[in-house]
């Protein structure tokens, strides 16, 4: 594939920056909610394009779900171990969708 520059992440990034700096201040009050949603969506897209998914981990997820359904993690100590993994997965997704909400008490715990 021929490399076109800037890539999708670069485009989302400059689109968001321009939108925030030049367009958002000129948006009338009755359209502001939509404008903020546009900025939010562009931000998520930019972060998702920048993320490096862990393919090996993702490949194991359907099996993990079936194991949970089958009761493999029902014992309390197994649940505690599982919750650590679930925190890790959730934090990685939250870092894309809404990083401001990352629980500071859990920083470094994963």
């Amino acid at each position: 594939m021929i490399n076109d520059e800037p890539d999708a992440r670069g485009l989302a990034s400059i689109a968001l920056q321009t939108f925030r700096d030049s367009v958002l201040p000129a948006v009338p009050a009755e359209r502001r909610f939509e404008a903020l949603m546009i900025a939010n969506a562009l931000g998520i897209a930019e972060r998702e394009l920048a993320a490096k998914p862990d393919a090996a981990l993702e490949a194991r997820i359907p099996q993990l779900c079936s194991d949970i359904d089958a009761g493999a993690y029902d014992a309390p100590e197994r649940q505690a171990d599982l919750r650590k993994v679930l925190w890790e997965l959730t934090r990685a997704r939250l870092a894309i969708s809404n990083p401001r909400l990352l629980d500071p008490a859990k920083l470094g715990a994963a």
């Binding site: 949603m37 939010n40 679930l86 997704r93 809404n98 629980d103």
Partner: protein
């Protein structure tokens, strides 16, 4: 942007006026369309003023016409059914807007506006969560009043006339909900391990079948109206159904609906104790904290299932909307609240079992 077609166009408006005149045994009815109100993502709410001459409803009534297709979210009632729930709640003395006229599918009324609808009295005030929770001091009296109102709603029991379309949970509210949420989540229940774990937890820890009452099922800040610090109306009844009364208490107190007032656990208003005390004043039952803890887990799974369905309304192409799309991407924050809650319960005993 293309403008939405007007609901009450030149053919529908006179038909609606004639329909109301018939229902109200009035000589003449004029409906003044005052435009759409901001509302839920599912319904269309139109501000209308009814000018009624003659009959029992004679006078001028500020009202809301509520309609909308039953698209998208599985749990939502049709609008006429919602009107019947509102009627029962109003009759029980709860601060629900009084329903004035409800469409009757059997009478062919759905053809009038293209979907079931009802007309209720309009309440004053604001519902927007951020505005409602904005207060320097905890809103203890409002939290207590929200508890009292919930107690009144929960006085409505299976067998109440007009509510026979609501199904009974089987074999218990907890297990019914676990099945429903799994169903609403579709493929996500098999690809998201946090959801898989939450659903498993609901099944393992379900309370034994007990008393079942009418639950509002979306009883939270954002779904009631407040005017100068006082409650004026409880709105958005489209998810109502028979369930464990503790389900509504947990939903109200879930972390999802505090709008930045995280320390005021009762809906961003005040402490849980104020809300619970109000509830016990009118409900004739105690708050069961173990059951509330169970139902708070259920609350995050229910909200996750609804967010998935909202997102799918966009992703499937049936209703392209940036708001629905972004709701679909709220799952990680809902799941973080779920994990925090489950961590807080670890080692506690619920219904004789270690959670």
């Amino acid at each position: 942007m293309t403008a939405e077609p007007r609901l009450l166009d030149e053919t529908r408006l006179p038909r609606l006026e004639a329909w109301i005149a018939d229902k109200a045994a009035a000589e003449r009815v004029t409906v003044v369309d005052e435009g759409p109100l901001s509302g839920g993502a599912i319904s269309l709410n139109l501000a209308v003023t009814l000018e009624i001459e003659g009959g029992a409803f004679a006078g001028r009534h500020e009202a809301v016409l509520r309609t909308g297709s039953a698209s998208g979210v599985s749990a939502s009632l049709g609008k006429a059914q919602e009107g019947m729930v509102l009627r029962a709640a109003f009759a029980a003395g709860a601060l629900a807007p009084e329903p004035l006229f409800i469409s009757d599918a059997a009478g062919g009324d759905d053809a009038l506006l293209g979907a079931p609808f009802y007309i209720m009295r309009r309440a004053r005030g604001v519902a927007a969560g951020r505005k409602v929770v904005k207060a320097d001091q905890p809103q203890q009296e409002l939290a207590r009043e929200m508890g009292r109102q919930l107690g009144l709603i929960h006085s409505i029991k299976p067998g109440t006339a007009g509510l026979d379309f609501l199904s009974m949970p089987e074999p218990s509210p907890g297990l019914q909900c676990e099945r429903d949420y799994r169903d609403w989540m579709g493929r996500f229940a098999g690809t998201d391990p946090v959801l898989a774990y939450g659903l498993r937890w609901l099944r393992l820890n379900a309370p034994p079948a007990g008393e079942v009452v009418l639950c509002h099922r979306d009883y939270r800040t954002g779904n009631y109206m407040v005017d100068q610090g006082r409650l004026t109306a409880i709105i958005d009844w489209e998810f109502a159904g028979w369930s464990d009364p503790m389900e509504d208490l947990a939903w109200f107190c879930a972390a999802s609906w505090r709008f930045g007032q995280a320390g005021r656990e009762a809906g961003g208003l005040s402490d849980r104790s104020d809300f619970y005390a109000g509830y016990e004043e009118t409900a004739g039952r105690r708050v069961d904290q173990e059951a509330v803890a169970y139902w708070e887990t259920a609350a995050y799974l229910r909200w996750a299932a609804v967010a998935i369905q909202q997102g799918m309304r966009h992703t499937s192409g049936t209703e392209p909307s940036i708001e629905l799309a972004l709701t679909g991407r709220m799952l990680p924050e809902i799941e973080q609240d779920l994990l925090r809650h489950l961590d807080s319960l670890a080692g506690r005993t619920l219904f004789g079992r270690t959670a």
